[in-house]
Amino acid sequence: MNVRSQISMVFHLDKCIGCHTCSIACKNIWTDRRGTEYMWWNNVETKPGTGYPAKWEDQEKFKGGWEKQNGKIRLKSTGKGRIVTNIFHNPHMPSMDDYYEPWTYDYQHLFNAPEGPDQPTAKPISMVTGDYIDIESGPNWDDDLGGSPVYGKNDPNLEGLTEEQKLQLFSIEQLVFFYFPRICNHCMNPACVASCPSGALYKRGEDGIVLVDQKRCRAWRSCIAACPYKKVFFNWFTGKSEKCILCYPRLETGQAPACFHSCVGRIRYLGVVLYDADRLEAVANLPKEQLIDGQRDLILDPTDEHVLEGARKNGIPDSVVKAAQESPVYQFVKVWKLALPPHIEFRTLPMLFYVPPMAPVMANRKNGALNSVSDNLFHDIDDARVPMRFLANLFGAGQEGKVAYALRKQKAVRWYRRAVTVGDVDLETAERMLREADCTIKEAMAIYELTSLCTFEQRFVIPPMYREKALEALRDPHEVKQSAGFGFLSGPRRGM
């Protein structure tokens, strides 16, 4: 056993209100520099939708992530023999059209416009060329099902849905959508790190945060093609790749990352998990249907004696182990099995997990009404407006069972609390539901508390980071934001 610690995350999608506060917090801190205008390290997508960059989930198009070949896994996008042929043009690299051309408005014109018969208006100008542009897309172009005949209908997760289900998903009074906030998953088996010919990307030993060394990056951009979540971006001004740094300067001073801290819906949880690095390769190689259980299995019980011993042997400080014991992520992912990895079939083993959203029921059951006194207390989960297949494609590596388990448990907890506080459901039925959903009363109360009553300290359990013991000497990234990358010793320069 090779025990490692990682700062890991859970997003509770039932709580996301799609306000984009997280994206703006991130943008204001990290990507308001030249060359980063188009980057959204944190973005919030509407599902069904094609997201940002458009259709990033379609690996036929982008060739991100890993694939199994001859009993091993290999990168889809690149390999030793292919780097050279793709130097000048990688056909699977997202282009500006797949993201969007960033723009601002010519506000000066409002002050400088000559006198005329009409009031002046600030025209949109490109932040790349500085010329006037006609805006054709944006980072959140399909927000709230905007343009659904083009965007929603082309969501790759619709695969396997019946024609009837697809039709329902986009017809008035039956449609539904939910929000899907995304950051870098700081994967256990990051494709971006594996793809870099210069070895510029690395996963920090002490907390698993995946970073791009701005000094070593040589603009190969292999990482951009390799990341199946399209969460590495190329800075066209410095000529270096950049990505979400999980606000490590904030974490090192005990603060939650900005998107977590500012989250209005309080959907975000952050905590340490311990995992076994020895079995990582074998798990990444498992058949698709075993990946979720395999990854859960890699996550170790932080109270187990053997694990504690292994942690000590690997030099993981006691305070980090203590944080792992209090980790909300451990509860959601491993104990309650409520949180699921997004598209684990890409085999990067993402360390950001999602609690799938509950949805309204279909309004068009037989005879126009739902039979709510059915013996099957969970019928509305199978009849939910978001088809189970859709959620399974997104969070279950295609398996509906994993998603159904999480939704049934969530529903049982709600009904149990309803029985306790409102009293219009009898306690006996509620307890039967808990049993059927594989949940005890104690667990239900714990889920309820961490979901609804959680304090800041319960949501973000941040261990001391011991940076004084780490190798790199860092400069304060807030101080050198315009000239350097993220706290590296000298400013990034374009070229080799």
């Binding site: 025209k123 905007g146 005949p149």
Partner: protein, 97 residues
């Protein structure tokens, strides 16, 4: 969008959320940015979110000192549910700033 009362030039989004024959305009941005000129207004700048509706005040709107009558005269006007009206939607033939 236009009717016998005014013109608004704005970006349109087609969505499964909005039934055919219906348009919804949120409380909208000011004309100070990204609003082109409209041929329906003899190439003058198109209007804003108040252009298509008339201000018909009922006396009981004035009761209670609510925000819409106390902040700025731009805010004078009936609330959303009293602002439904008939409009025509056309694609802008040429973009003129």
């Amino acid at each position: 969008m236009h009717n016998d009362h005014g013109v608004v030039v704005t970006r349109a989004v087609v969505s499964a959320r909005i039934p055919p024959g219906v348009c919804i305009q949120y409380h909208s941005p000011e004309r100070t940015f990204s609003v082109p000129k409209s041929p329906l207004r003899n190439d003058r700048r198109a209007g804003g979110h108040n252009s298509l509706t008339r201000t018909r005040l009922k006396p009981n709107f004035l009761a209670g000192g609510y925000g819409q009558f106390t902040f700025h005269f731009n805010y004078w006007g009936p609330i959303g549910c009293n602002r439904d009206t008939h409009i025509l939607v056309r694609k802008l033939p040429v973009l003129k700033w």
